[in-house]
Amino acid sequence: MNILINILVFVLGCLLSVGVRAAWPDDPFGSPMWAYNIERYLGSDARVVHDDRVNLRVPEFAEDSAQVPLTVDLSAFPEAPGQIVAWVDLNPVPHLFSASPGPQPLTLLALNFRVQQATTVRVAVQDREGVWHIGSRYVDAAGGGCTAPSQTMSNPDWERHFGTIRGGAFSRAEGMRYKVNVMHPMDSGMVGNIPAFFIGEVELRQGNGQPLLLSMALSESAAENPMFVFEFGQRPPRATLWLRDNNGNQFERRLGGDL
């Protein structure tokens, strides 16, 4: 099945990318989806460079294809990052998240994703000029992460823990790190007849009419029971997490500040 899907996706990618490619650098990993996914997520006229300062950390292999940790460390990025888009090239739905940081500089973001098979992973960060800086990694995997039923749903008492949110605030030399864990099946909608049921919207709010610290759109590649890490270069006075899933469930929790 995977091979067939790949071939199909590759052929589609070739057909769709003919003639529209901007002057994009070559992909050091040679993924067949490089140009296609740039066009799909960043646009056909996107300006793109490879940049190690988008420090993407992903293990070389997925020990658990349903929970592959990803950390993007932007502490070496020379300016406050603009839009951030992450995708997993060979997943059925490659998009993982799109994030828009507010005025507080985002220095680190982490969450777990699923992989369907060995694939490249990308994080693109837009600078002030509109240029996308891309960090890439390759993760080897036995696969099945997207089409495996969530462990939450197969656990008979998942409803008891559904929506349970744990969190912590961790002081950094400069700035602040928040870590949050949400019990949610995050069903991708790709398993048998289990409908999609996942958190699609994430916001970190300062309140008091202040701009958002971060807003994030999550897609089906995100892993179940998500564990988020957000770090900001300056300490926000307060932070509140707000989440909404595609069934309309909303969650809101204070993360710290003004304690």
Partner: protein, 315 residues
């Protein structure tokens, strides 16, 4: 069930396509080394599973008793089990009476087809674990070692091994049930010669593995019990045989470091990818596969450390 077979068929197809030159099946090159009167060890490498080594990364053993050979573990595949049985029959004329499978991991339990079903023994909880995880392990093994697995099927032993003393001929084997590595781990002590068959409760100069471990500190506590036995030769599940207890000290040191790393990282709010990249102390330079296993252990165990370091946020 059909879908579960697909990866296996694909793996065989790939192995077949890749192995045009390898018309004849690969062979395990097993050797028996005497470590005490009537006791032999068959040592594997300290690598990870690969198509190069056929999964021969494990130590198996056998001993004569005067009333039948006792075998400890059957190796990673049917073909390994057959090679092990041939080696035993070359080494001694005594018939095989007991085959003790130490735990449900494939590198220890997948050669069992080569032995008479009536001779196979396992701790009851380990039998249940093998019945539960065996097929998934088999799919994974086909992927990792390919053609070496040909013909291998999961065999859950019928005979339940009870903790206590197992008397076979002149030997009174101490059957010790532990939990640190997989939740159901057999350790065998042979008091006549002082040989301790620690299996995967002890990895020596090879990083320990944690996919089914119930906890690092419980594992370390059980090693303290083993240190009280009058051991003259220690046979670890992976890595070189030792004539002293230094592998137990290495294990305790490594388990303590791992637990501290995970706990401190969780308290500092680190992400799992940051933990996977953490520095490993230089004193562990002699332990193979340590970075690879840190990635795996972080995946298996760090989520619980993380949750314990966070507070429940009220609505």
């Amino acid at each position: 069930m059909i879908s579960a077979r697909v990866p296996r068929i694909l793996a065989l197809l790939v192995a077949w396509l890749a192995g045009t030159a390898a018309a004849q099946a690969p062979e395990y090159d097993l050797a028996a080394r005497a470590i005490a009167p009537g006791i032999w060890v068959v040592e594997g490498s300290t690598e990870n599973f690969s198509r190069g080594n056929g999964g021969n990364i494990v130590n198996t053993a056998f001993m004569t008793t005067g009333a039948g050979v006792v075998v400890i573990d059957t190796g990673p595949s049917r073909r390994y089990g057959e090679a092990l049985r041939a080696l035993i029959e070359e080494t001694t004329a005594e018939a095989i009476s007991h085959v003790l499978i130490t735990h449900h991991h494939p590198d220890h339990a997948f050669g069992s087809q080569a032995f008479e079903p009536a001779t196979l023994y396992m701790l009851d909880d380990a039998r249940a674990a093998l019945a539960r995880d065996g097929e998934a392990f088999a799919d994974n093994m086909y992927r990792m070692i390919g053609d070496w697995m040909r013909g291998t099927e999961v065999v859950v032993p019928d005979n339940v091994l009870a903790p206590g003393v197992l008397e076979v001929g002149r030997r009174r084997l101490q059957i010790i049930a532990m939990t640190g590595h997989t939740g159901a781990d057999l350790v065998v002590f042979e008091p006549l010669s002082g040989v301790l068959f620690a299996s995967d409760m002890v990895f020596h100069n090879r990083a320990l593995t944690t996919p089914q471990s119930p906890g690092l500190l419980g594992w370390r506590a059980e090693l303290e019990q083993l240190a009280e036995l009058p051991v003259t030769v220690l046979v670890p599940g992976h890595g070189p045989v030792s004539t002293d207890l230094s592998p137990l000290r290495q294990m305790a040191d490594y388990l303590t470091w791992l637990d501290t790393l995970l706990a401190d990282s969780a308290r500092a709010g680190l992400s799992p990818a940051e933990v996977m990249n953490a520095p490993i102390p230089a004193r562990f330079d002699g332990i193979s596969e340590r970075r690879y296993e840190l990635v795996r252990t972080t995946t298996h165990l760090y989520p619980d450390y993380e949750k314990r370091a966070l507070s429940l946020l009220p609505e």
